[in-house]
Symmetry: none
Subunit: 257 residues, 2 copies
């Protein structure tokens, strides 16, 4: 079922009650896949109490140590964010978030809705693992929603998008050739590591003064829906680049060029 392809990921939750509230919010809207990244306290009676009948969601919850584990298999990652972070990132409103998540889920892709810590949100590094950031419009003077309440709003918009899409033909993404489908988030992460390595190797990235290079590159490739075939090409380029930097490559004779 479509909604089963959408997972809610809670990162570093401090208050177990919020985990319960989130589980209830999810189940109310037909979502069921919950992943907890490094929760302060879980399982917990408080979570059960606030889940108010959504205990199956709690029992089925995966608990992992880092965000990247929570995103394995995901083709689309949407993370909540306050606005005005240092580097602008493609932003979605909750409504667009719901529509986008639903579209992808209908095509069989795994989608993650990522929520941060109650007081600190997501780290810059975690935000960079997201294809889009979602900001829930709120009063700037008092802008931070309760975690379970934020889950409720996005889950509600997902359900609204899903209800609207039911009975509509699934927009078939023409997979023109094999390898055309976008890569998973974890594969993209491997690519970034490889890319960083290459950039250090050629002397373009100074690991002591990385500045914002990698986040700018993540933003570029993150929004490009890099396909499997393209990823293979890019990684091939990186491999050869590293070899070339180490003097190990096969240099073509000038005459050939």
């Amino acid at each position: 079922m479509v909604l089963e392809n959408i997972r809610v990921v809670l990162v570093g939750t401090s208050h177990p009650g919020n985990i319960g509230g989130a589980a209830r919010a999810m189940k109310n809207m037909g979502l069921s896949q919950l992943v907890l990244v490094d929760p302060q306290e879980f399982p917990s009676d408080e979570a059960v109490a606030r889940a108010s009948g959504a205990t199956d969601i709690l029992q089925g919850a995966q608990v992992v140590g880092a965000l990247e584990e929570a995103l394995v298999g995901c083709r689309l990652v949407l993370g909540t964010s306050a606005r005005d972070r240092h580097i602008p990132w493609p932003m979605l409103e909750p409504r667009e978030c719901g529509v986008t998540a639903c579209e992808q889920a209908r095509q069989g892709a795994q989608v993650a809705l990522v929520f941060g810590r109650e007081y600190a949100g997501l780290t810059n590094e975690e935000l960079q693992r997201c294809h889009y950031h979602v900001h829930i419009p709120s009063d700037p003077a008092f802008s931070s929603l309760n975690l379970a309440a934020a889950v409720q709003v996005l889950a509600y918009e997902v359900r609204m998008a899903w209800l609207a899409s039911e009975g509509q033909p699934i927009k078939q993404v023409s997979v023109a050739e094999e390898g055309d489908e976008p890569v998973m988030a974890d594969e993209l992460e491997s690519f970034y590591r490889h890319l960083e390595q290459a950039l250090v190797e050629i002397g373009f990235l100074d690991p002591l003064r990385p500045r914002h290079l990698m986040s700018r590159l993540r933003r570029l490739y993150g929004r490009s829906s890099v396909s499997r075939l393209e990823m293979n090409i890019l990684r091939g380029i990186l491999t050869e680049t590293i070899k070339a930097a180490r003097g190990e490559h096969h240099k073509r004779e000038k005459a050939d060029v």
Copy 2:
């Protein structure tokens, strides 16, 4: 201010925590008028705790004995309801509720959003005091939202309607930075030439057997709306790559890495 004309009315709330959660949800969305009809326990430390900074809303809350007192002065009353009540009533979805409430509030009318008891909702008599009933779409198998979560959803839709009506563009564009604009087509062409050169230099592209490599890369970057800043980065990478391939780059000491 428009949003001051919209009051949230909680009838017979059992859990003081929910009153706090509702206050926070309201304040997040710019609402401030809270009325409590026969609350089980108020004031309460639990309410303050869950209000998480919205204590002004709690302090300003009116406490009355019956719903009709809470509705004095209201021109429009919207009450939450599960579907399938005994007598069909004009129903609104949360989105229409937000739009309708906002329209009336802009004309100076007092509007009430009425929420019922956690376990029993509103009585038939109370429901009949409402002009419209509002049902938040939910999974029929698990349809009852937490009270504060329900307040969050309706308050969110009110704010969305209000933002739309204020002439503010709903689509919130993240603050662009200098260099964010996409490059011109001819600049992109220069980039592809540079890229091709680098790929030949590192031995990844065989000019005698180019196959479809460049067209695949063009397809990737072409759809990515590469910005000026990103282009500068990519061209810098290509320049260093070519140098590295020629043995001309500054190799970082392993110790630095």
